[in-house]
Amino acid sequence: MTQWRNSAERYGLVAIVLHWLVALTVFGLFGLGLWMVDLDYYDAWYRRGPALHKSVGLTLFAVLLLRVGWRRWSPPPLPPSTHTALERRAARVAHLLLYLLLFALACSGYLISTADGRPIPVFGLFEVPALPALVEDQEDVAGAIHEWLAWSLVALVAVHALAALKHHFIDRDATLRRMLGVARNPSRSSTEENRP
C-alpha cells in the first residue's frame, strides 16, 4: 500500500509525514514561544528556550520549502467528490493561507533576532546570517507581527482541524483518513476510479 508520491485520490507517504511533522512542530513552537517569553531571568531555560525556538523555527522553514517543492513535483490528490463546491473553495483558500502564515511567521521571527545584524545560530551547528535592517525598530515591529501571526495561524489551524473532524464524523467521508494514510476507499464516489 505504501506509495511515496501523491496520486489523484491518495496522499503519499512523503506528504503525510511532512503534514504531521509540520503540525507537531508548529504546536511545539507555539507553546514554547508563549512559555519562553514569560520565563524568569534566572530560569535555566531563559536562554535555552529562545535558542531552541529559533533553531527549530529555521529548520521548519527549510522543511516548508521542501514541502512546497514536493507539492509542486507531486500535486496533492483531488478533493473527494463528496466535497461541495463551497467546501473546495474554502479548503483551497485555507490551505493557501496556512502556507502563507507559516512562511510569514518564519520571516517575522527571523527579522526579530537579526534586527541588529546578529546571525541566528541553528542548534549550534551553523549560523543563518542577518539581512540589513528593513524598518526602524525592526525588533519591535517584527515581534508584534510575529505574535499576531502566531495567534492567527493557531486559529486557522483550529478551523482546519474542525473542518477535518466535520468531514470525518458528520459527512463520514475520507478527508481525514486520507491524511492519516488509512483511507482504503478514499471517498465513496471515487470508488469507480479506484477499481482495478
Binding site: R118, D140, G143
Partner: protein, 192 residues
C-alpha cells in the same frame, strides 16, 4: 530703621528676581551629538551592562559664579533605549521594564542646585520614568566651558544618580545584584 529694612528687602528681592537672568541658557548639543544619557546596571553581580537613550532633548542654565541659580531640564524618548542588542532592547521597551508604549517619555526637571565644591554640584529634581515621578539628586561636575572653534560658547557637565528599579515600578526582578541602575548624564550645552 524701617525704611532701611524695606530697602534691603527690595534689594534682596531684586537680586533674587534678577538672578535667573544672569545665568546663561544652554541647549544640550543633540545636533552635534555631544551629549549622552547612559545607564549601567550590574549583570548578575559579575559585570556592568551599559546602555544609552539615543533620543532626548534638554536645556540648562548655568552661572559658574552662582551655581544655585542654575537649572536643568531633560526629556528622553524611552523607546530609543539601546543596549547594543536588539532582542534585549525589545525586552527593555516592553512591559517588564520601561513600558515605552504607555510611557513614551521620561524626564528630569531640576528643583534646586547646591554647590558641593569647586565645579561640583548636587542637582535636586524630579525624575519621571515609567510613569512614576520621584525626587532624585544628581551629583554633577562641570567638565569645562569656553569658546568653541566655530564662534559659539559651550559648557559640559557629567552627573549621575542611582535609582532602584522597584521605585519606578519596573516589574522585572533581575536579582539581588541588579536592584539599582546608575543613570549617567554626560552633556555639552551650546550657549544661546
Amino acid at each position: 530703621m524701617k525704611i532701611r529694612n524695606l530697602f534691603s528687602a527690595i534689594a534682596l528681592g531684586l537680586t533674587v528676581a534678577a538672578a535667573p537672568a544672569t545665568a546663561a541658557d544652554y541647549i544640550i548639543d543633540k545636533e552635534g551629538q555631544h551629549a549622552f544619557v547612559n545607564f549601567k546596571i550590574s549583570h548578575l553581580g559579575y559585570s556592568w551592562l551599559y546602555g544609552t537613550f539615543r533620543d532626548f532633548d534638554g536645556r540648562f542654565s548655568f552661572d559658574a559664579t552662582r551655581p544655585e541659580v542654575s537649572s536643568v531640564r531633560v526629556t528622553i524618548r524611552t523607546a530609543s533605549v539601546d543596549s547594543n542588542h536588539a532582542e534585549r532592547d525589545k525586552h527593555l521597551r516592553g512591559s517588564d521594564f520601561l513600558n515605552t508604549g504607555k510611557h513614551p517619555e521620561a524626564s528630569f526637571v531640576s528643583t534646586g542646585v547646591t554647590s558641593t565644591g569647586e565645579g561640583s554640584f548636587d542637582i535636586s529634581g524630579n525624575l519621571t520614568l515609567n510613569g512614576v515621578t520621584r525626587p532624585v539628586t544628581i551629583a554633577a561636575k562641570l567638565l569645562g566651558e569656553g569658546a568653541d572653534p566655530w564662534g559659539g560658547y559651550r559648557a559640559g557637565f557629567e552627573g549621575s544618580t542611582r535609582i532602584a528599579l522597584k521605585d519606578f515600578a519596573i516589574a522585572k526582578d533581575l536579582g539581588p545584584a541588579s536592584q539599582e541602575v546608575e543613570l549617567i548624564l554626560s552633556v555639552e550645552g551650546v550657549r544661546q
